[in-house]
């Protein structure tokens, strides 16, 4: 279709009406943002001659994504989470905050309310005898190298099938999820199992979008973290285990060089005995540096609808 109508007064006036600019009530910022978004999409429809069939196909896919509650899964696949991280990075760079552990995306699979332990906990229920034991440990420090005693460390990761408890109801409650209060040296330690990578369900609406883009929906094996302590900026981050085929090809774009961690296989019987384990295991060390802040808002994770957060 060669007809273009976006720039006509009729369409521009219509966009003003649709966005509620002539109405008293509502939210002024929402009106401005919706007007901008609608204008962009209207112009796109005109420029690309989007057909009704294409438009309604997209609306159908939109409904499917929402029905599957995959908005928070598609978003990182479309790079939004990483983009928001880049914006926060740029803001901190402007404030000359340096030498701290990089943030990376939260993902949609956090569940609030995991049991709290002091210093150490075991995250797996022992039912998976096939997976390698993971000894996950690290120290939380400030930019001067001083330990952050009592820092709160929340950890969550997938099982050997790449599934997360709560979303996978076959796993026990809070399986492979924990909250550890670091000791006086800022150290935390968890016994768990090495997780597998995660893959977007084949044929799911998010997979359909990725397939249109010629992309896959795989993530490397990774472990999620929240770090927080009074007086420090909340840190949302992940580590990717080195050697996974998707370490540098993550569909969710969470990989950052400083966050790729090499596990160390330990077979020494004394090291095994010290940790009260039965055989060889892999130690994964993740030390972090938190920037100080007096801003109470920055000391907490940003608000976002999360599973059980307000339950």
């Amino acid at each position: 279709m060669s007809v273009k109508i976006y720039d006509t007064a009729e369409v521009q006036d219509f966009l003003v009406t649709v966005s509620g600019f002539d109405k008293e009530g509502g939210d002024e910022r929402a009106k401005q943002i919706l007007h901008r978004l609608l204008s962009s999409v209207y112009q796109l429809i005109d420029d690309f001659d989007v057909t009704p069939e294409e438009f309604w196909g997209a609306v159908h896919l939109f409904n499917e994504i929402g029905s599957a509650k995959q908005g928070g899964l598609l978003a990182p696949g479309l790079g939004f989470d990483h983009y928001l991280d880049l914006r926060m990075d740029a803001e901190e760079a402007q404030a000359e905050v340096e030498g701290t552990t990089p943030r990376t995306i939260e993902g949609p699979l956090y569940v609030a309310g995991a049991p709290v332990s002091q210093g150490y906990t075991r995250m797996d229920d022992g039912s998976d005898m096939q997976s390698e034991v993971m000894w996950l440990t690290g120290q939380v420090r400030d930019t001067e190298g001083k330990p952050v005693a009592g820092a709160q460390v929340e950890i969550w990761h997938a099982d050997a099938q790449g599934n997360y408890s709560f979303f996978d109801p076959s796993q026990p409650e809070y399986h492979l999820r924990c909250t550890i209060i670091a000791d006086d040296e800022g150290r935390y330690c968890a016994r768990s199992i090495i997780p597998s990578g995660y893959g977007v369900t084949e044929g799911s609406p998010t997979d359909q979008v990725l397939k249109l883009l010629g992309r896959h929906g795989q993530r490397p094996a990774h472990i999620h973290f929240f770090f927080s302590a009074p007086g420090y900026r909340h840190l949302t981050t992940q580590i990717n285990l080195a050697g996974d085929p998707y370490t540098y090809d993550d569909f969710a774009y969470a990989t950052r060089d400083e966050l790729v961690v090499e596990g160390r296989r330990i077979e020494d019987t004394k090291d095994i005995a010290t940790r009260d384990l039965d055989g060889p295991f892999t130690e994964v060390v993740f030390d972090v540096v938190l920037p100080a802040t007096q801003d109470p808002e920055l000391q907490q994770r940003h608000k976002r609808p999360r599973a059980l957060e307000n339950a």
Copy 2:
């Protein structure tokens, strides 16, 4: 936040990667369209300093809209259906097609497969004794004034509570829905009840979006139509009944001047008897003019996921 990163090489390269431009597979047009859409939204986030909280609130609302299958309800509320109509109008104006009945939006509440009748049918099941009887009739003609014998006329409308059968499971199957094959004069006739206006459910995700814009979610009393016949362009349209408070304030922007129809109250006993009715009724006349076309695609309604269409 004063930091802007959208125009950096890092972000522009990232958009190219996210859109799969470096991947062999997928759909080239989908990649181009997604790249354009994502670029617009990334730029919007930068320009408006959209916070993570705002972004995740929007994703949550996106999931809610999809879960409620309201993509097809929000779309007309945001003017997309009317905009697509305006584009098709402009295309036909360029082709100098004139004097035909205007199209207007289909809406999301059509259900395929309504029973077929010859010339006349009754659409209501008689259970609503309170509503005014509607005698809905008209003639289908071509641009020369010649009747289109055997034109297929599909009609659907709401009940006195503004609800549609199928979506409202309390109504019988195909209640207030029908398919009529026009007679040799191109005439169709249906007995039904005067519908009420439709309102978006209070508190539903679509209502939440409209409230942000300071807008309501009301539609005037209206009746949906599909008209089709071999050799003619398919017509998707509606009539709005004159006198409704929302006739010129439709949240879905379907109202067009030529489609506002004044019902005529008939109390004459002979007229009542001719139609085999028991008392006064309202006659609603809707004559239409279809443009000729030899394009088989234009002779059919455009493809769109519809209830029971492929059942």
